[in-house]
Symmetry: C2
Subunit: 233 residues, 2 copies
DNA sequence: TTCTACTGGCGAACACCGTTCGCGTCAAGT
DNA sequence: ACTTGACGCGAACGGTGTTCGCCAGTAGAA
C-alpha cells in the first residue's frame, strides 16, 4: 500500500522549511540559550529542541558537549573589542581588554563557569591573549612576566565573572540583587561570636560594602599595577 | 505465616552492625570520595553506597547536595593551619594562609570547583577569613582594603586550584603530567600563523614555561605586594 | 503482656542529563 | 528504474538529584 498523499503533504513541507543546522547555527542557538537560561539550561536536548529535532542530530556537527562549550567560549571571545596598540597607554589598554572580557562573560550569564574549565586555544581567545601580551611588551614588561601575567589576569577575570553570576543567580527571585543580599550577609556577620571572629564582627560593614564592579576593579588594579615593578626599559 | 527466623538472622545482625550515619559521617565519606574520584564522583548514590544504602537515606541528615557541598567545603577549610599573628611578618603570613588553602584544595582534587560556587560563611571559612583580615590590619592596611583584598586573594587561590585540577585531570592517562601537555601546547603555539598571532608565536616558550606552582606564586605575589601601597601607618 | 501509634530508613520512581546504536528514508549514481 | 550509500534522528542506556510512600521496629498505653 502506498503512502497516503495527505500524510506526505503534512510531513514533507516542513522538511525543506526546517531550520538547516550546522556548527555555527548550533553554537549560536546555544549562546542564545545560555544568555537567558544559564549554562545549566544548555543541554543537548534543549539545543536540539530549538531545531525541532532530537539530541542525536547535533552529534553530526559537534563531537561532544565539551567541544560545543569550547566553540561557544571562543565565539564569545570574538566579541571582545581589541583596541589598536598605543604603547604609552599600555596599562590602561590592559584594563580595557580585561573589562571588556569581563563584561561579555557576564553578558552571557553563567558561561564563565564553562570558561574556567577550558584551555583557551581557540582563534578568538588567542587573538585576545596575543593582544594583551603585545600591550605588556609595549610597556616594557619582559616576555616571561608578560606571558604569566596575561594568564593570571584572564584567570582572575573569568573567576570573578563566575562568582558574580552566582550571586546574581541566587537573587533571581523577586528582589533587587545587591540590596537584599548585602543586608542579609551583613546581618549575619554582625551576629557572629566576637571572641572567635573579632575582625569579621568589627568590619562587617566593610566586608559587604562596595558593589561588584568596585571589587572587580580593586583586584584587577592590584594585578595590573603590580606589573610596573617588572618593567625594564 | 511468620517470618523465617533464619532470614531474620541473616538480615538482623547487619542492622545494628551497619555503619551508623549522621551528618559528619556523610561529609567524611564524601571527602574520601572527592579525594580519589573527583567532584563528579561525589553523587548521592555513590555516597549512599559507602553506607550500603540508597540515596534517599542521606536526605534525613542533609537537605540537599548543595548543603552537603557547603559542609564539605567548610570541613576542608578547617584543615588550613592558621599561624599566630606576627605583625612584622604580615605579608609572609598572608602568603602562608593562601598557600595552605591552595594546597588543601588541591589535596582534594576537584573540590575547588564546588568551592567557587560557595559563599564562604561556614565557621571554618570564617576563621580563615578573619585571620587574614587580622594580618592585613596588623600590617596597616585600612579595613576597607583589607576586606576586599581578603576576598580577592581567596578568589584567586580557589580559581587557580580549580584550573590546576583540570590540567591534572586531562593528563590522567598514562603520562607524566607537565611534560606531555607542555610539549603539545608549545608545539601548537609555535605552529600558529605569525601574522595573526605574532606575540604568541614569538613567545611560545615563555607561555608554557614554569610549573604550576611558579605561576600561582607569580599572581599571588602581584596581589599581596600590591597591598603595600595602601598601608597607612 | 498485648495492642496501637508513630517515627524514620529506604526502595522505587520521576524527570532530567550526555551519548550511542541502528533503522528508515531520501538522494544521487549507474 | 534500480541500487547503493549516507545521513538524520527515535529510542534506549546508564547515569544524575530529589520525592513519595510503604513498612519494620520501637516505644508507650491499656
Amino acid at each position: 500500500m502506498k503512502e497516503s498523499p495527505f500524510l506526505r503533504r503534512a510531513i514533507k513541507p516542513q522538511r525543506p522549511a526546517k531550520n538547516p543546522l550546522g556548527r555555527d547555527e548550533i553554537v549560536r542557538a546555544a549562546l542564545r540559550i545560555v544568555k537567558t537560561e544559564g549554562i545549566d539550561g544548555v543541554s543537548m536536548r534543549r539545543i536540539a529542541a530549538e531545531f525541532e529535532t532530537g539530541p542525536s542530530s547535533l552529534y553530526a556537527h559537534v563531537t561532544s558537549k565539551d567541544e560545543l562549550l569550547q566553540l561557544m567560549f571562543d565565539e564569545v571571545c570574538g566579541m571582545v573589542e581589541i583596541p589598536p596598540l598605543d604603547p604609552p597607554r599600555w596599562k590602561e589598554q590592559i584594563l580595557e581588554i580585561a573589562r571588556a572580557s569581563h563584561r561579555i562573560l557576564l553578558d552571557h550569564y553563567d558561561l564563565a563557569r564553562a570558561a574556567l574549565a577550558i584551555v583557551p586555544t581557540g582563534p578568538n581567545a588567542l587573538r585576545a591573549s596575543d593582544a594583551m601580551i603585545g600591550m605588556m611588551l609595549a610597556g616594557g614588561v619582559p616576555a616571561q612576566h608578560a606571558a604569566w601575567a596575561m594568564d593570571r589576569i584572564f584567570l582572575y577575570v573569568t573567576a570573578d565573572a563566575y562568582e558574580m553570576s552566582i550571586w546574581r543567580g541566587t537573587a533571581t527571585e523577586e528582589e533587587a540583587f545587591p540590596a537584599e543580599l548585602e543586608r542579609d550577609l551583613r546581618a549575619y556577620f554582625e551576629q557572629v561570636p566576637v571572641d572567635l571572629y573579632p575582625n569579621i564582627r568589627a568590619h562587617a560593614q566593610e566586608l559587604v560594602s562596595g558593589d561588584a564592579e568596585a571589587r572587580f576593579e580593586f583586584g584587577l588594579a592590584l594585578l595590573v599595577d603590580g606589573l610596573g615593578k617588572y618593567v625594564t626599559k
